[in-house]
Symmetry: C2
Subunit: 123 residues, 2 copies
Amino acid sequence: MRDDRFCASNCSFTRAIGTIGNKWKPIIINVIGTRTVRFGQLDSIIPLISRKVLAEQLKELEEDGLLERLAYKELPPRVEYKLSEKGLAFLPILESIKEWNGKYEVAPMPGETDKKSRVTCAG
Amino acid sequence: MRDDRFCASNCSFTRAIGTIGNKWKPIIINVIGTRTVRFGQLDSIIPLISRKVLAEQLKELEEDGLLERLAYKELPPRVEYKLSEKGLAFLPILESIKEWNGKYEVAPMPGETDKKSRVTCAG
DNA sequence: TATTCTGGTTACCATTGGGTAACTACAAAT
DNA sequence: ATTTGTAGTTACCCAATGGTAACCAGAATA
């Protein structure tokens, strides 16, 4: 998922894209926002992502220092995710993407077809 | 490459990510910048991208209104790509990603290993 | 006693992504 | 007459992605 050729680039920008340039990570970061969110919450807030992929993405985001994972030694387990300083500093960028998209998007709203097959950010 | 489930979301942000949330598109947009660039130039400036994938990405970017394609009726063919207004408006976002990464990136520079296997933005 | 609850992980399998090489058209140059 | 150059496209094939279902621990609840 994370492309090592990107992360090993001598270009800082390319490395950044290697870190956050995929479709799930911006969504996850946006959903977490300034909150503290549990794994199960993320799994249900973001439909169409499987637990497997969600776990992968969270692990990578943690490795890249974008979020913090707090595991409570309880049973049943409880794990909370929140953005690190680096992750929080990324939020304004997501906001400017929203603005940009709102300003220039061509097709405004899709027709009411198959709701099940759509992704929601539900942020 | 472009995920239809994202593009059909009722969430504007998710749709935006469906459009530009992959690894090649930000790179391509960054490389083009304010210039006018030919297909072959892109192909040689961006190593490790194949012509096939490059052509795909360019087509999608054009469909999404991020760039304009100017084909001259010559032989051998000449095609020039430049960012549209929407594409140009995306450049500041890429700049803020660069800033953000410069500020928070953990591993600063990779060792001198296999240069061939790296991606360069060469912007 | 059996079920539930949570945050994963693992094995298995189908789908997809993406690379490579060959091919196109035609003009100009060798 | 053959090669070169451009911007792709197509067929083919292998590797990687990602989904599904099963499984785990161990306490609390019914």
